[in-house]
């Protein structure tokens, strides 16, 4: 998801602020031995020395990575490719690659990474660069008109219903699965999420989850702590752990000041954002509606009956309505990009649910002024959870319900079925995809501006990040929030069904009326449910049910 947001950020990502001085280099050099990494997860194929070398590209004080750096990274990660492919083996093969060009990331990096691969294998790649906003329309039109003119495609997992569901992708060969070290993926990206109908199609290059980002200076401020006590609030002043507390803290903060500046609590994203804003309501709702042990939380899995208008979802919608008056002026016109890059990262707001971009952008972007005054947590819990099967709210014996939202499920590389008829092209396409999903290369993309976030267990290797210039406490908090969410037994997986963004977009439009006070939360939710039912009928209910089940591995 990072890419989406880098694109909106419109800032030049720089490593200057992170990789400062020779200290970082010294630390990296000192950690060169594997001994320093003892106790941290490593991939079976991870080459620690190589990863240390990669983390130094471009190195401290050398500015943002360039095409030469990307090529160097690609070249250093060619080892597994050379084990499976002979020099010049793909001579004469031309592959077409469709991907994004957001913020000069994605395809721009892929070009550099694959340059050494092209030189070694003899294959050439024709690039189709798309802006994020054009991506969905281009993909859907290609599918609908039978004009799939690309052999390899960078694609978000939610589109698998549209693409894999129509049998347009090539199944991953076993040699690729071994080359990319599939077992190193974080657990939730393994089957069923990493598969479609039990088969593997995706080479992961990213992962996604919403986490809570919060301001450390707010929650350690003695003035606010005193005011909290003075106003008779229960418990100590601190980071809210439940949504009820998020509401209470945000209302409390209205009108408060630190150093003469107004402070705010939680930031909502009420403005439609092409379907993506719906993820933020969903992240508010999961603790209320994701019942432990049940995979479905957005639709009934046997009927596709929407749950959006059940009391759990309505409570989440009502929470937004209740809180908007306590948020900054014009918050109703704030989309996710605004809350992240024009508010939280530049000092407005004390809490923000977002993708992992916040943690890396905060310390690598020149325009992010919030700096290291933030830390991270998983999404807040709920004291009770709505059981859609019994139709009742329940207080769980295990305590408050936590349900991290794996919003968007990350980017992947997919090889199209059109290459299957030509064995040479087939191997070439999968070899290129495997390099982009390489285990060591992914460490670099997680740490440097790329558009991608950690998605392997071996990425949770704090010394490597510290060698890259991150403060240990900071990156530990960041990685804890990410990995705890990824590995949570009750994490919420969205439906990878055809047209899922149509459902989200419809909801955004209806919910905007609720937030503007034209409808009650229940009325708005009922409208969404009605429109979702109509859309399901239009897209084919039986097939949607089958795809929904397949996407959840049921």
């Amino acid at each position: 998801m990072a890419s989406e947001l880098m694109w909106r950020l419109g800032t030049q990502m720089g490593r200057r602020d992170v990789l400062k001085g020779t200290a970082a280099l010294g630390a990296a050099a000192a950690l060169g031995g594997a001994g320093a990494l003892a106790g941290y997860p490593t991939s079976a194929k991870a080459d620690t020395a190589l990863r240390m070398e990669l983390m130094k590209i471009p190195g401290a004080g050398n500015g943002s990575p360039t095409d030469a750096d990307w090529q160097k990274v690609g070249s250093l990660c060619m080892g597994p490719t050379k084990q499976n492919v002979q020099p010049g083996e793909f001579k004469g093969v031309e592959l077409s690659f469709m991907g994004l060009n957001n913020q000069n990331l994605h395809n721009f990096l892929f070009r550099g990474f694959l340059k050494p691969w092209e030189q070694y294998t003899g294959a050439t790649i024709k690039w189709i660069d798309l802006a994020q906003g054009d991506y969905n329309a281009r993909l859907q039109q290609s599918i609908a008109t039978g004009t799939v003119d690309f052999d390899i495609c960078e694609m978000g997992a939610p589109f698998e219903g549209d693409v894999c569901g129509k049998g347009l992708t090539s199944e991953m060969p076993d040699w690729v699965k071994k080359q990319i070290d599939f077992d190193d993926y974080v657990n939730y990206l393994k089957p069923p999420v990493g598969t479609w109908n039990g088969k593997i199609y995706r080479v992961c290059i990213d992962s996604d989850t919403h986490t809570m980002n919060y301001r450390t200076d707010y929650y350690s401020d003695p003035g606010l702590a005193k005011a909290w006590k003075d106003e008779g609030h229960k418990g100590e002043w601190g980071v809210p752990k439940t949504w009820a507390k998020v509401q209470e803290v945000t209302k409390f903060m209205k009108g408060k000041k630190i150093d003469g500046k107004e402070v705010y609590g939680f930031l909502d994203q009420p403005k439609p954002w092409g379907g993506f804003a719906f993820y933020f309501l969903a992240s508010r709702a999961t603790a209320y509606v994701k019942y432990p042990g049940e995979k479905a939380w957005m639709f009934d899995v046997d009927t596709m009956k929407p749950r959006i208008n059940n009391p759990g979802w309505v409570r989440a919608i009502q929470d937004v309505v209740d809180l908007l008056p306590y948020e900054p002026a014009d918050q109703i016109n704030a989309d996710p990009g605004t809350t992240a890059f024009q508010q939280f990262l530049v000092g407005t707001g004390g809490m923000l649910e977002w993708w992992g971009d916040i943690g890396t952008v905060a310390v690598t972007s020149d325009t992010a002024t919030v700096g290291k005054q933030i830390l991270f947590d998983i999404l807040p819990a709920s004291d009770d959870v709505y059981n859609a099967k019994t139709g009742k709210w329940e207080v769980l014996p295990t305590g408050p319900n936590v349900a991290p939202n794996m919003a968007y499920l990350g980017w992947g590389i997919y090889v199209m079925k059109t290459v299957d008829a030509d064995s040479k092209k087939h191997k070439a396409a999968w070899s290129a995809a495997a390099l982009l999903g390489d285990s060591d290369l992914s460490m670099w993309t997680s740490a440097y501006p790329s558009g991608f976030q950690p998605y392997r267990q071996s990425h949770n290797n704090i010394p490597l990040w510290v060698a890259g210039g991150y403060e240990e406490a900071y990156i530990k908090s960041y990685m804890d929030s990410q990995t705890t969410s990824y590995n949570h037994p009750n994490n919420a997986i969205e439906p990878r069904i055809p047209g899922i963004f149509q459902y989200y977009s419809i909801a955004e439009d209806e919910l905007s009326k609720v937030y503007a006070g034209k409808l009650t939360a229940q009325q708005g939710a009922d409208n969404v449910a009605k429109l979702w039912e109509a859309l399901t009928d239009k897209l084919g209910r039986d097939k949607q049910i089958a795809f929904y089940k397949a996407s959840l591995g049921l």
Partner: protein, 373 residues
Amino acid sequence: MQNEIASRAAADARHRAADAAVAKRAVAGRRLIRAASLGLGLVVLAQVLSATDVLPLGLATWRPTLFAYIVWSVALGISQVLIRGEQGKQALFLLPALLFTIAMVIFPTFFGLGIATTDWNLSSLTGVHFDLFGNIATLAGDAFFWNALLNMGYYVLSVLVQYGIAFGLALLLNADIRGRKFFRVAFLLPFMLSPVAISWMIGKSIMEARYGPAATLARMLGWESPAFYGVGWIARASIMTMDAWNWIPFIIILLLAGLQALPGDVAEAARVDGASPWQAFWKITFPLMLPVSVTAIILRIIFELKLADIVINVTAGGPGGATDTVSSFIYREYRDRSSVGYGTMLAEFYLILIIVFVTALLALASRWMRRVS
């Protein structure tokens, strides 16, 4: 005498021969266009049969029809010359533009009518079906569309305000003021900017609620917590303001051209007769400017009916649809919801509404102009 008769006979013979040649060319021309039309018809028929799987001709694209249309267009041009001679040659100047318009505007419009009768959704797994009545029913009950249409009424009314401001500025620029040339260029600058740039520069920066200069000014003026997009009517007014800033120069250009074309002696005579500046404007300048004014307003309304870019970029139609336009709503139906059938229905319906509205507006303006003059 005999020579004269012989000479007339020879002339008649030449005329007959020439007529025969003309007739022969005309016949050839008719045959050519008939043959080309038959060929085009056959290719289209073959394509349709192939596309509907009636005949397995393996025509993967519609390029053969395009090529057949190009061949037919060339044949039409040649036949015009053969059939109509000099007049046909004159027609050749018009035909390319006409044929291009047919291919790129008229045909897609009618083809769109066909799409509008379907339930085509790019994500649908069940194919494309006829759903005209379903689309009509959805349209009739689509609160977002009717809300957007109502908003278009407000936006169109705002054109009158724009016109008033533009007239004032045009009078100013037409007057003998210092720095007139500079101001003429300066006033045109907003028109040179893209609405997308205006959205970001003004809508999202200058009017940003916390640090934007407009918000700071509003605070200084006593608005404690300025929010330009928080409440429906304020958000709509903000969009109208940006849109006006972008387009007022266009109206100024037209009005200024009209003002400069006014005969100076009429105004001079009014002054000699003792008319005040207001009387000179209201009794002379304004009536004389009516034809230009009507043209400017109608053109501006046509442009206003297409308003979308600023809305999409700044408010996405919100809050709660308060700033939504029909075009921005159709954009969401297409881009975010892949709803080709229903989206096309909306677009075609809106086109018909615009045609009816603008036609009525022109008729009313024409009648009013006749009455005034």
